[in-house]
């Protein structure tokens, strides 16, 4: 199981700020996860926006990065500052 975190406005879209998911074995990269989650939430491309960054275990990565044995994956819209 992998913990997925949805920050900022994404939690309104997904209805939760975090969840534990069994990511299918054929979802290998961050980009594939992005597309899979977008379909899962019927988000109509909202999760595909490149301004939404993905972090694996607290490190921001590119869409081509492999998920590997990630414990925590965060989807982060542009930060709003304090």
């Amino acid at each position: 199981m992998t913990k997925i975190l949805y920050f900022g406005r994404l939690s309104d879209l997904t209805g939760t700020s975090e969840e534990l998911l069994d990511i299918p074995a054929n979802i290998e990269t961050a980009g594939q996860l992005r597309s899979w989650l977008d379909r899962r939430f019927d988000a109509d491309g909202a999760l595909l926006e490149q301004t939404i960054r993905i972090a694996i275990d607290s490190e921001i990565i590119f869409d081509t990065a492999l998920l590997g044995s990630a414990e925590e994956i965060a989807l982060m819209p542009p930060v709003g500052g304090g």
Binding site: S58, V79, G82
Partner: protein
């Protein structure tokens, strides 16, 4: 010194503690940011601030290290609140201590620009009629860009 926490910030008490530790500084600058009562979409009922630890703290630590490399500072303090807060309450407190005032002023300004644009926070504003997430304004980005331009001059 850095603290990101849901606890209320008492800026006067923090300043006293900072002064006690910044012995020998010629100048101390502090900035307190407060929750506005009126925002673009109406009267603010509450503000919710979300952080992602330790990414949020690590980013602020890097900005503090950057400030220390640009200016000769004796001490810095950043306190940032997270969670739910109300108009008039303090969101952020920044203090800088230096031998001379210019370094203290500029470093405090620099840290605030970082905190307003690049710091890892998400902010939601609730008014009487709506609830919305706020993303940075163009003016926040141009404020922060001043420091990049300055470096190349």
């Amino acid at each position: 010194m850095l603290r990101v926490s849901p606890e209320c910030i008492d800026a006067s008490a923090e300043l006293r503690a900072f002064e006690a530790e910044a012995v020998g500084a010629g100048g101390i600058v502090t900035f307190s940011g407060h929750v506005r009562e009126v925002a673009s979409l109406g009267d603010v009922k509450s503000l919710f601030l979300q952080a992602y630890s330790p990414m949020t703290e690590n980013g602020i630590k890097t900005a503090i290290a950057d400030a220390n490399s640009r200016w000769s500072l004796q001490k810095t303090m950043v306190i940032h609140r997270v969670g739910s807060m109300h108009p008039g309450e303090t969101i952020v407190f920044v203090a800088t201590a230096a031998k001379h005032r210019r370094a203290a002023f500029e470093a405090a300004d620099f840290l605030m620009d970082y905190l307003k644009t690049e710091a890892v926070f998400w902010k939601k504003e609730d008014t009487e009629t709506s609830s919305h997430w706020i993303e940075p304004r163009d003016s926040d980005y141009s404020d922060a860009a001043r420091w990049t331009t300055k470096e190349t001059v």
